[in-house]
Symmetry: C2
DNA sequence: CCAAGTGGCTAGTGTCAATAGCCAAATTGA
DNA sequence: TCAATTTGGCTATTGACACTAGCCACTTGG
């Protein structure tokens, strides 16, 4: 049958489709400036219609985060496959940075913590971290040594990348070179990981 | 004269006073959740009255940032005075972390970039970074070596602290110890800084 | 002492996220 | 095949927010 003159034509929206377009838009305007009206416009739909596919703005951020974590995990896995040790760390680091700089809002979302009861989010978060953990295993670290190394590696990459995305490296010196040396520095430190215990600050 | 029954009593508000109370409130509720209505309530004033002291929400964030950068710069300077080399780096790192964790919104604000024409903001930003630069000078780094080291140090601290504030270190392992080892790792890397050139990722 | 400037105020506006409730399109199953 | 149910659009509205306009009393300085 032909549709009535005043009928709402159905777009083929799904929760995934909405999250994907949201990620694209957020990478353009910034995660914090993503609005449902702008997103609805892109999807050819009115703003309230989005609520058929999302719970809330926070829920949309969570959906973007889950997609992003999965994507980042795959990027890291692809970079490290077939490599080990310092080679794998270098490759993984550069892939991490490239992906993060290219998709700043997705990257920001990928660092959102899962809600306590969100098993899917927790799973993709863990999967991404597991790639890092597997690579660091080549240094025969375990227990607290391994946890400390993983935390150090994540911190190192995250700090650099978030400063870079924020435009915080103002001086003219080459940012690529700075990143390369940061990664090399981490590898140097990792080689002596077990023999460099933590000290507490002097009084 | 006695005031009329319907007269607006004057509070002693200033731009600084507003920014300080805003920083206190933001550290409680989060920088992104700071609202002018809540801030006005705290100051015993109606929301539009704040515009006599601030330009806009973004302007208030900037004011918080300037205060925060000054505060952080002083904290770092105090930590490093009378120390040098690895000792100074360790002391400065722990002070940085302590301050950042204690004042999460101020810390977030301290990482906002100054507007291009904002000389006061640029000055306090530079002053804080200069403390770091001075400490790293003990390693006789200059030019690109020094810039790379400063970027690496800032990235390392910022990454750890922002993950810690976000609650991203979920595993039970001791976070203090992880931080100590991260700092030690940086010091180890710094000792070999000149001899570890950057490599580009393999193909 | 009075004229100018300052710092409150009330009363709005526009932009958001979010809700309520309607109706046609799609789907399901007898 | 076709009726019942579910789904996915829609309009209209609310409430929280930043921000503006314009008023008036208090302060200050010549």
């Amino acid at each position: 049958m032909q549709q009535n003159s005043t009928s709402p034509p159905r777009r083929g929206l799904t929760r995934d489709r909405v999250a994907e377009e949201a990620a694209l838009l957020a990478d353009e305007v910034g995660l914090g400036k993503l609005t449902l009206t702008a997103l609805a416009d892109r999807l050819g739909v009115r703003q309230p219609s989005l609520y058929k596919h999302i719970d809330s703005m926070a829920g949309l951020h969570r959906d973007i985060a889950v997609h992003a974590k999965r994507e980042l995990g795959e990027v890291l896995a692809r970079a490290s496959v077939g490599r080990s040790g310092a080679d794998a760390i270098t490759a993984m680091s550069h892939s991490y940075r490239d992906w993060a700089v290219k998709h700043p809002a997705r990257y920001e979302a990928s660092n959102l913590m899962p809600a306590a009861d969100d098993v899917e989010d927790a799973a993709v978060s863990l999967a991404a971290i597991q790639v890092i953990a597997d690579v660091l295993t080549a240094y025969e670290l375990d227990g607290d040594d391994a946890v400390d190394a993983i935390r150090a590696f994540r911190s190192t990459l995250h700090g650099f990348v978030s400063y870079e995305s924020a435009g915080a490296f103002a001086w003219s010196a080459n940012v690529d070179r700075s990143f390369g040396r940061l990664v090399n520095g981490f590898i140097v430190a990792l080689a002596q990981w077990k023999s460099s215990p933590a000290k507490h600050p002097g009084l």
